[in-house]
Structure formats: C-alpha cells, structure tokens
Symmetry: C2
Subunit: 231 residues, 2 copies
C-alpha cells in the first residue's frame, strides 16, 4: 500500500449489480430492469446502483434488492459473485461494479423501483442468446448462471428456489430447470431425503401438483457447508 495522500488515488465510482435468478414456468429466469436513460436507454439491464460512501458492499446489495425488486434478505440466498471493472465498461466514467448472485423463489411479480422504468422476469436462455443487455451485463449474467449451476451440485442451495415449504418434486423441478436436464424422481428423492442437514420434515403433506400426497419439507437453516448432490 502507498502512503496516504488525499489527492494521490484515482477516484472510482463503485456500484453493485444483482443477478437475481428464479425458476418460473419450469425455466430459469432472471430479473431485469429496462433502462430509462442513456446510455443503453431502453435496453434491459441487471438491477443495481451506486454504493453509498458509508455503506458496506453487502448492505448496498441488500438495499438495491429491496428498492428495485421488493425482495427481502429473508426470502432469498445472496452471495458475492465477482467484480467487474474494465476501464470503459461504462462510457460515462470509471465504474467498478461488485456483482451479487441472488437465488429467489417464484414470488409475486417484482415491484419496479424508482430507478427503473420497468422490471420483469426474463428467461435466461433467451436473454443470453439475444446478447442485448446493457453494459457488460450479459457477461455478468453468464457468470452468475454458471455459478448457480455449479453450486447446486455441492450445496443445498436448490431450496433457495422453493417456497418456505416445498415437496421433493418441487425441489426436483428447480434442479431440472437450472441444469436443463431431467432427473430420475426416485433417485432424486432418495438422495435429498438421505442427505443429512438438507431437508427437515414438517409433518404436513400436500396434494398440490396431483397424485399421492407429498411430504412438505423446509430447508435446514444455517446450512453451513453441506456436501451434496447431482441427480
């Protein structure tokens, strides 16, 4: 580190951007906002905004999550994804953006915040292949999806896509949507119910979805580091 001199360090703007993923209609979707101003006016972008000068990075992510999506931290899983800071990623000024990955259940439609002209869930596949996101957000989204897919293999994060109480079938549907594969229902059931520290029986059952009543589970909270799972 260099000696302190208030005029010696280059000033950067620091923002947070959110990759908010959910499973809707059997596919992986991402929350996007439509930009109301230049640059990239009218284009879809990840929700995000400036970090305040006395605000922790994670606090900024939580604040933007609430302001732009209406989601609360209790509802979702949030983790730091990566930081993007190419010199001209924002044409207006030098911006370093700390991206966060958010895994959310399929909640009622998000509320557009004050900064965004519009906000909506969009299928990840079509969004990435169209390649029309603002800034370097397509790259950030791609990294976020890759991280989500990888983490579902060795953690119990799949439950983050489900409501508070869910069936094994609903959990399996989330995994299938994220990975884009079909999983054997019988083996999947054995695996998740047989993994310690993953699911907690509620004792209640449900018949939503049809067929024989299914046990309802909740995710084991404070899942420190549960090893887990592929198919």
């Amino acid at each position: 580190m260099t000696d302190y001199d208030p005029h010696a360090f280059p000033p950067f703007a620091v923002t947070v951007d959110l990759v908010v993923l959910t499973v809707r209609d059997g596919e992986l979707q991402v929350l996007l906002v439509r930009r109301g101003v230049a640059p990239y006016q009218g284009r879809w972008a990840l929700p995000g905004g400036f970090v305040q000068i006395d605000e922790d990075l994670s606090a900024a992510a939580v604040r933007e999550l609430r302001e732009e999506t209406g989601l609360r931290l209790d509802d979702v899983h949030l983790e730091q994804l990566a930081t993007y800071g190419a010199p001209r990623r924002d044409p207006r000024m030098r911006v370093v953006s700390v991206a966060w990955l958010v895994l959310a259940p399929d909640l009622p439609s998000p509320v557009a915040g004050t900064d965004a002209a519009d906000a909506s869930w969009r299928p990840v596949d079509g969004t990435l292949s169209s390649g029309r996101l603002a800034f370097d957000h397509a790259s950030i989204l791609s990294d976020g999806v890759e991280r989500a897919r990888a983490k579902l293999e060795y953690s119990s994060l799949g439950a983050s896509f489900c409501d508070d109480e869910f069936t094994v079938g609903e959990l399996r549907a989330a995994y299938e949507a994220v990975w884009g594969v079909e999983l054997d229902p019988r083996n999947f059931h054995r695996k998740v119910t047989g993994t310690p520290g993953f699911l907690v029986e509620t004792g209640r059952t449900t018949t939503r979805g049809g067929g024989r009543p299914a046990m309802l589970y909740t995710a084991q909270d404070a899942a420190v580091n549960p090893p887990l799972l592929r198919g």
Copy 2:
C-alpha cells in the same frame, strides 16, 4: 443506475490485494510484505496497491504481482477471489479492494518491491493463528486458502504449485501440503495419471528425490474445466 452527474457519485479508492500461495518445505506458505508506514506500520500485509484510473482490474493484479513479487503471469495461476469494502477497513479513506488468488511454484525468494520494506514467504497456519495481519487481510487470506483447498478437489490446479516439469510424487506433496493430509501414493498415482486432460508425459524421467526414476510430466495447458480429484 442513476443519471450521470460528475458530483453525484461518492468517490472510492480501488485497490488490488494478492493472496500468493506456494508450497515450501512441505507446507502451504503465503507471500507477505512488511508495512513500512502507518497505519499498521511494521505489520505483515498482503501485497497490493492502487488500481490506476485507466487500468483493468486484472492488469493491476498482474502489475502488482510483478512489482512486489517479481513473479510473471506465465509462472502462476491467477484468479479473482472476492472484493472487500467494509466502510472502515482502511482508517484513512474508503477503499474497496479486489482480492486475487495466485498459486505459484516454489521459486527463488521473491524480490521486495519499491512499496514494501520487506517481503517473504510465511507459513499460512502460523500466520492465520497469530491473527496479526494488517487491515482485514487475515480474512482475505483465510478466504483465499479456503478457495485454494476447494478448487484442488475439482480442478487440476495442483500443478500450479509445481515447476514446469514435475513428478507425480512432487504433485502429491503439493496436495498434501495444501490439504494437510497424507494421501496414498499408489492411489494418487493412478488417479492423476488416469484423468484425461491433466498430465502430459514428457518422456523424460528423474531421480531427484531418490528411489526408482519417476516419469516427468507437464500440466496440460489451457485446462478448460477438467473435473478431478480427491485423494
């Protein structure tokens, strides 16, 4: 994102910090520099420095690596670790630091750069337990070690700790040092030589280390995403 106004965004300093790990004397070691100025004068710290205003984040990491350690990108593996930006992590001003993980072979002692009064390899275990690093660098180092340990399980990154040409025994010694466990030499040999896309035979052998001559290997370059390995 908010409209552009050159006075509207809070100015941050952005730095890079490096967690440079190697295996020396059979144990995992980290490259530290001794701080010559306040704050934390005289304390050990991770090498790092300010990102320049027109410089990519990864370019800043590579530059600091060269300036403070004498290491070149060709010699090492480098990946982004995480970003640390608690409001008072640096008492002088608001600093957001992008940390990078570097895995290096056991090279000749690093050259102290201009910014650092001193630089040397230090055992990771003792460094973490003493808890006397500057700033939040103990936390960053801890995260870096955790990442390194995890990535060795599912990638072929262990070879980053070895020289250009190495034996299976030397590779195993690196894994044992990073994980702090003993691995079965026979099974380890079968595993790494049997994993496609990991090792490339050079055809040459060596008897350094004693015993029967061992085949020399190089790491398969551009290891895109090789699945791999525990034990």
